[in-house]
């Protein structure tokens, strides 16, 4: 609470200097810019390694996958499933537009045609777009600080509207972040008519490799009853030297 108050006050003061007229309710453009950049870069790194658990809940089944993920730049991703036993060793390698799946049961590597890369990932509510974020909030949206009818204490609310013409389905996104460190708490996705379509909750802030991030991401589609996907970081390293062997078909085939 203390932190919240302090930082809110700091923002307040800062704004007072910058834009005396509007300062009473809004931080500066520059300031919002910083907040947005912070959100953008929360999980982003030149390279990363993480161990994650993913809970997928649908009206028909619930399951938890455990996996190791390596990323390098925007182009390269390697995912290896370690649990449950049935899927242990299943791997996905993506380099740019090419994607392969390795299936230990059949001991085959299958090249996934681009048309199949767009559907939901492993039956989760995430689609490819969510996993490989092509867009940044800073460059691809116009944004503005807003005050919702019932603001939560210590929270900042930013409304993002996609720049015209970009391939983004949302009409707007409202992100609430902690005023003290700009760590997001919730992202609400709306369609063009202002209907809430999905909610992403950020929970359980932990420090991994010196970086403070919410370790649990909870995605709840609003239009489909009973669906939910939860991502849990168990372990994460950022900007590490991954080496050349990881993003190879040979690695994909070697079910480690």
């Amino acid at each position: 609470m203390q932190f919240l108050k302090l930082s809110a006050k700091a923002v307040f003061l800062f704004l007072l200097f910058a834009f005396p007229l509007f300062a009473q309710t809004h931080p500066s453009d520059e300031d919002i810019h910083k907040i947005v950049e912070r959100i953008d870069e929360l999980y982003r790194a030149n390279s990363s390694y993480s161990v994650m658990e993913m809970d997928i809940v649908t009206p028909h089944w619930e399951r938890t996958l455990k996996m190791k993920i390596w990323t390098e730049g925007k182009k390269k991703t390697f995912i290896r499933i370690t649990e449950p036993a049935k899927e242990q060793g299943v791997g996905t390698l993506r380099i740019g537009n090419e994607m392969w799946n390795y299936l230990p049961k059949t001991n085959k590597v299958i090249k996934v045609p681009p048309s199949m890369m767009m559907s939901s990932w492993m039956g989760s509510d995430f689609n490819n777009d969510d996993l490989v974020k092509e867009f940044t909030m800073v460059d691809d949206y116009t944004y503005q600080l807003i005050t919702p009818p019932n603001p939560g204490p210590g929270l900042l609310y930013i409304r993002f509207i996609p720049k015209e013409g970009l391939p983004i389905v949302w009409g707007k996104i409202i992100i609430s972040a902690r005023a003290e460190d700009y760590i997001p708490v919730q992202e609400n996705y709306y369609d063009d008519k202002g209907k809430l379509m999905r909610v992403m909750n950020f929970k359980d802030i932990k420090v991994f490799d010196g970086r403070k991030i919410p370790s649990v991401l909870e995605l709840i589609p609003q239009t489909e009853e009973g669906h939910k996907t939860v991502l849990r970081y168990i372990e994460a390293k950022f900007n590490l030297d991954i080496g050349n062997d990881v993003f190879t078909l040979r690695h994909l085939r070697a079910s480690d």
């Binding site: 619930e62 449950p84 059949t106 090249k111």
Partner: protein
């Protein structure tokens, strides 16, 4: 009394009788044949279409047809099957399991529709075994065999003997994946479905998709196409399961149904014209024969016969002829329709569709092919004879006899 005279008249005036009866009888027989033929054609085309893949009736879980989903399953298809087997109109039924997936041969892969089928039932219901253009058909027992559509085989550069990998999502959310051996390539006559279709033995597919004992669709074929609507109702009653939907082909193949309906309506216009000509022929004959016999009626009148009796005489005569024509015509028409329903009429050009060669078309022996022409002939004869009969009844004896 008048009936007796009418009979006597008919037998005495053989030439007139034969001419009049010939029109009625000939018209009736031809009308019967053309309706039987039209019904036969209609059934033939629908069967060619529905027996190729769809079946006459389909059973699904509620909502499956509208928005297909792997979870909308028929849970106890064997029970449904037993209930279907207990209905005498059901010729065959075939269970099917559907899912979308990724299939891959060598370094080629493509999206496909996974279709799990019961080989024996699928063959009995829609002749799937005849659609294999390369390789062989499934064995009865599941043996990790696969049949791919022709377009899909081209896309994957696959041929019988190749190993094919399938990836999909199973109903429990897990990654469904397995290896199969391609044993055959099928061609259904529909490019779009041949580009997507990947067939597995039902049990293999149930295994792959973690849907043990479940199916998405049951296709039913009836012995007789015209029993389909009644059979549909009967199946609904028999299954008595609000979670299942039973639809006749008219519903799930709507655009085809409408095309057929349009086509059949066109045929009915032609039949109407034929019937009209028959009616005109009957009219013409009766009118002429009454007109030509005015002298005769005048004579009867002069002898003291009452107008009402003369009226009755004319009507009797015409109707006796009409009924006799119909009886003989019905016999001959049905015989012709029966012969052609067995022997068929050879098409000028045989053709192959969905693996089946069509060389002949068949007529159908139906009730409507008899009663429609019968009603037409009777109505035309009675209606037509009323005016001449009235005229004959009102005839002035002296005048009419003078005329000749």
């Amino acid at each position: 009394m008048m009936l007796k005279i009418a009979f006597r008249n008919i037998f005495r005036q053989k030439r007139r009788t034969i001419l009049t009866a010939l029109t009625m009888f000939g018209g009736f027989t031809l009308a019967t044949f053309s309706i039987g033929w039209s019904d036969g054609t209609y059934n033939f085309i629908i069967n060619m279409f529905t027996r190729n893949q769809l079946g006459h009736i389909q059973i699904h879980a509620k909502g499956y047809l509208d928005r297909p989903s792997i979870y909308k399953t028929i849970n106890d298809y064997r029970l449904v099957g037993r209930q279907l087997d207990s209905l005498r109109q059901v010729e065959a039924w075939a269970p099917r399991l559907y899912s979308a997936g990724l299939v891959s041969v060598g370094d080629k892969s493509a999206g496909a529709q996974i279709i799990g089928i019961d080989p024996e039932r699928e063959a009995a219901t829609v002749n799937f075994n005849k659609k294999i253009v390369q390789g062989t058909y499934f064995q009865e027992a599941p043996a990790h065999e696969a049949i791919v559509g022709k377009g899909l085989a081209t896309l994957l550069k696959a041929s019988p003997g190749d190993t094919i990998v399938v990836v999909s999502q199973a109903a429990d959310g897990s990654i469904a994946n397995d290896l199969y051996t391609i044993i055959g390539i099928s061609e259904s006559g529909d490019d779009i479905s041949d580009r997507m279709s990947f067939y597995l033995n039902l049990e293999d597919a149930q295994d792959l998709l973690a849907l043990p004992g479940k199916v998405h669709e049951i296709a039913v074929v009836a012995y007789k196409l015209n029993e389909v609507p009644a059979l549909t109702r009967e199946i609904i009653k028999k299954l008595d399961n609000p979670n299942l939907e039973v639809d006749p082909w008219q519903d799930f193949a709507k655009s085809f149904y409408q095309a057929m309906k349009a086509d059949q309506q066109g045929m009915w216009i032609m039949l109407f014209v034929i019937i009209l000509i028959v009616a005109v022929g009957v009219l013409n004959t009766v009118l002429m024969s009454v007109l030509e016999r005015r002298r005769e009626y005048g004579l009867l009148k002069a002898m003291g016969t009452k107008p009402r009796q003369i009226f009755a005489l004319v009507i009797y005569e015409v109707n006796i002829l009409a009924i006799a024509s119909i009886i003989i015509g019905a016999g001959l028409g049905s015989l012709i329709n029966y012969i052609f329903s067995r022997q068929g009429i050879t098409l000028p050009q045989a053709f192959t569709y969905g693996g089946i060669e069509f060389t002949k078309m068949f007529t159908e022996v139906t009730a409507q092919s008899l009663y429609i022409p019968a009603i037409t002939v009777i109505l035309a004869a009675t209606f037509i004879s009323i005016f001449p009969a009235l005229r004959a009844a009102r005839i002035e004896p002296a005048k009419s006899m003078r005329m000749h």
